[in-house]
Symmetry: C2
């Protein structure tokens, strides 16, 4: 534990790094995958299961929590950690991304965004200051600046305008956040698919001397090579001694490639959402349990994994649960998927520290390519 928010890199392997973020609520081992706890729950999982899999931090969504149950209510109830029984670090997003993707009738201006709740149609407003205030009411350990995230592809003009607005909001968020020992506020590099804009955004944010830097506005439909090119463009401009967080990413393959390029933190709904839709991530790639080929397959999902969901239940049983729409199917597949993601991160961390990252990556990709453990039943190379 630590009274301050600190980050240290213990080992590097090429551009990849492994280290630790320390703060009062715990240590985050990096590279880290943060399960998404949208509405104060990592869906279909008990919090102690999430921790036991090796997650050091979960993500909460400001947009969802401000609408229901409400930030002031969470504060009155003792904060998000107590509310959801997760005493370890929590990172919250700013709400901006989900305002864009989920709300109705949103209206941007230079000062913030006004929108209508997708739940009950009520009107709400997010400004840089209100976003930080909400994240503070929630008790978030790592808070994100409000930004404007445009869809890709888009015009250079629209991307540049959003990037400059996001920079202005980063400054306002820094002021609003102030000095909070043990907590951090991260800036978000924007700039779409433009290297020029990405570099400009990164440099300007670094001048603000924030505690960490996210790369945002990716994983929004662009090809993987565009995403990786943007990481490569930005990485040399980010300070080595600050954590780097690639927001909303991604497939196992996306994560592996981003770790190779120096990213430290990830979040994505993929393992949890896929688990509620019959999909299982394994060392042999992704399986679609809805497929009739599993109806009498007595093998477990992946006997090499540690979690019971992966080793104890047959694919035939999981196929049945998925077909029947049973909650237990979602519980077991989500458990397996988060287990796979956390084992992947543990493997990446260990490989970096042992200086054999490229071997680990090659072996991992061979496993995906070989298909579902041994019979070619996999859906392919860890793609989402």
């Amino acid at each position: 534990m630590s009274e301050e928010f600190t980050f240290s890199v213990a080992a590097t392997d090429g551009a990849a790094r492994s280290g630790e973020i320390r703060m009062p609520r715990g240590v985050i081992r990096t590279p880290a995958f943060m399960p998404v706890g949208t509405a104060a729950t990592v869906k279909a999982m008990y919090p102690d299961q999430v921790k036991a899999l090796g997650a050091d931090v979960v993500l909460g969504n400001t947009y969802h929590l401000m609408l229901r149950p409400g930030a002031e209510r969470v504060a009155r109830l003792g904060g998000l950690h107590r509310f959801m029984n997760w005493p370890y670090p929590i990172l919250t997003d700013s709400g901006g991304f989900q305002v864009m993707s989920l709300s109705d009738l949103r209206k941007m201006d230079a000062d913030g965004v006004t929108f209508r709740s997708h739940i009950d149609g009520s009107t709400h407003r997010l400004t840089p200051e209100r976003s930080i205030e909400i994240q503070g009411l929630l008790g978030s350990d790592i808070q994100m600046q409000l930004d404007e995230c445009v869809k890709l592809p888009n015009t250079e003009e629209a991307v540049e305008k959003a990037m400059r607005l996001s920079l202005a909001w980063a400054e306002r968020c820094k002021v609003a956040f102030g000095d909070q020992p043990g907590k951090a506020m991260f800036g978000i590099v924007q700039g779409g698919a433009s290297e020029r804009l990405r570099v400009e955004s990164a440099r300007a944010l670094v001048d603000l001397d924030l505690k960490g830097y996210a790369i945002g506005g990716l994983a929004v439909g662009e090809p993987q090579d565009v995403m990786l090119a943007m990481i490569e463009a930005v990485e040399p401009h980010l300070p080595a001694e600050k954590p780097r967080y690639l927001m909303g990413v991604g497939t196992p393959d996306d994560i592996v490639e981003a770790v190779r390029r120096g990213v430290d933190m990830f979040d994505c709904v993929m393992p949890t959402r896929a688990g509620r839709h019959g999909m299982a991530y394994t060392h042999g790639g992704r399986l679609n349990l809805k497929n009739a080929r599993y109806a009498e397959d007595t093998r477990p999902l992946d006997p090499t994994m540690k979690c019971e969901a992966s080793t104890t239940y047959s694919r035939a049983y999981l196929h049945h649960l998925v077909r029947a729409g049973e909650i237990l199917g979602m519980m077991l597949l989500t458990w397996n998927n988060l287990s796979y993601y956390q084992e992947l991160m543990a493997g990446l961390r260990k490989a970096i520290r042992e200086g054999r990252l490229e071997d680990f990556v090659a072996q991992t990709k061979e496993g995906w390519a070989r298909g579902a453990m041994d019979d070619g039943a996999g859906e392919g190379a860890g793609e989402g």
Copy 2:
């Protein structure tokens, strides 16, 4: 464990009994509540949680399992115990009740019932012999005779006809079941709300010398006093040395009253179904977590209980999860409810063995009447 199926009564208190059913897969402590595992899963629960709460046996539904995944498939996969990771005793119903309540276009004749699946419209047939064959393919430890269960109220003529058909089918099921050491086939007393028909049914079934006797066709909408009158009418005619199973019952109050009248076994979807609909059973009665009064209630559901779901999470959090439709809300409330039911059964067993059942019942009912632990927020006397 035991190679044979045996039942022994260790203590009585009035008409109530406490004892043990022994069989190769385990011991069932009576009075016992059997969680319902409809489609090879106790909904929203991991099987090891169900066991840890004190459930010695779960119920599987022949109707659901014969349609999906299919009895022959379950047999090829090693039987229901292996399929659902429940190595302990399983009781299966005959399928008859759910054919009546769930299927389309059913047609009864003296030899069985033909019906269409509610899942895909396919046509199926259940006869006494096929029901026992299916239960055997599933590997069920306690199998139930096929019966005809009519809705109440009904004409005496219709009830009598169904009772006589059920008796004829009991004989055929006994022959079909044959001699299976370590397993049992139970007969089902029918006769609606008629004492005369119930007594006739019980006597005729006892003449068949079956290993246990169920009371069926109750908890189908009749008032509680009718149900209890039927138990009282039947009980003196059932052999003391055989277990007695009240099918599909019920609320905590129904169970307490039936135990006082000599019933040993129960099953009901109430704790699991209620848990998926925002309802919590506690020592202070039933709470409806959807209610806005819980929005900022920081107390746990019931701090006197053993299970984490009852003691660790605030009502405010559960209220939020239920309102947001989160799976974790269903998981936690189901866990709490099954925990409450199993603690109630453990309390009844202990009280019977200590000769203080009436005191225990009075205290239990006082708790329900007092309302939700201390503030009158309960919904009342343990009613479903």
